[in-house]
């Protein structure tokens, strides 16, 4: 019996609070109102920011590549120089023995 009472109490019809319908209509009108467009300044600012960030990233990549290329040049010339000098010193040694 208690269960039936509980269900009846829970499912009983209730009238909405006063002003509910007008609040719903007002909300619908607000949602349908045209949205504010971003100003051209905001667009320009965001484009500039994007370009600056993109440029910064590209420049950083360029610098990293350049430094890596420089290190590779130094490594290559170090190895090449070492071998040439060794060969020259061997030739000099043989020359001085003659």
């Amino acid at each position: 019996m208690n269960l039936e009472d509980d269900l009846r109490r829970a499912l009983r019809r209730e009238s909405p609070a006063p002003g509910f319908a007008s609040r719903v209509l007002q909300r619908i009108e607000t949602d349908q109102a045209p949205k504010r467009r971003p100003s051209w300044r905001a667009v320009a600012a965001s484009l500039t920011l994007t370009a600056l960030i993109g440029g910064g990233v590209a420049y950083e990549h360029h610098v990293r590549e350049g430094e890596r290329a420089k290190e590779q040049v130094l490594t290559a010339l170090r190895i090449a120089g070492e071998k040439v000098r060794y060969a020259q010193s061997e030739v000099r040694t043989i020359g001085s023995q003659d």
């Binding site: 290329a69 590779q72 290559a76 010339l77 190895i79 070492e82 040439v84 020259q88 061997e90 030739v91």
Partner: protein, 177 residues
């Protein structure tokens, strides 16, 4: 038509030797067996980029920039192995076989106890248009290919100077640590 043939012939005559200066330094599987590998591949555009980062107020770097100006490429493959005989000696001949008739041996050092070095140059008139250095030891195989107009004397002065650290056996051993 005759003019076209002459221009084409001249173009090929210039282009073919120029492109032939770069040799194939692809040694499949060798890097896997090596304990230490140095692989440098710098084409003309990378050299130009590196040149922008060399110089400024540093006279040594300016000298290096001057040396690499006019080069079309620098390619180095250097392999150090943990034990003797890890590389096939025929690789030396494979490198040499790629060199055309303009290539002349400049220096050949053969030693049973020390390093063997072959230095070959692509000589065109008074100019050296390319250099190949093959250096071998029982546990080391190194090939350097410099493409372009290179001053060998200036190159030999680089080691231990110009901010390029001199390699000794000790520093190599430290690098391993």
């Amino acid at each position: 038509m005759r003019k076209f043939v002459i221009v084409l012939t001249l173009t090929l005559a210039i282009a073919i030797p120029a492109s032939a200066q770069r040799i194939n330094l692809d040694f499949p599987g060798l890097a896997d067996r090596a304990e230490e590998v140095v692989d440098v591949t710098l084409d003309a555009s990378m050299l130009r980029l590196a040149a922008k980062f060399l110089g400024g107020d540093d006279p040594d770097e300016r000298e290096i920039r001057h040396l690499i100006t006019g080069l079309q490429g620098i390619y180095v493959r250097s392999y150090e192995f943990a034990k003797d005989g890890e590389y096939d000696k025929s690789l030396i001949d494979r490198v040499k076989s790629q060199l055309g008739p303009t290539w002349k041996p400049l220096v050949t050092v053969r030693s049973k106890t020390k390093e063997n070095v072959n230095i070959m140059a692509d000589v065109r008139g008074d100019r050296i248009n390319g250099l190949v250095i093959i250096a071998t030891e029982p546990r080391e195989f190194t090939v350097v290919n410099i493409v372009g107009d290179i001053d060998i004397d200036r190159l030999s002065k680089l080691e231990g100077e110009f901010g390029i650290p001199k390699i000794t056996k000790d520093t190599k051993d430290k690098d391993h640590d």
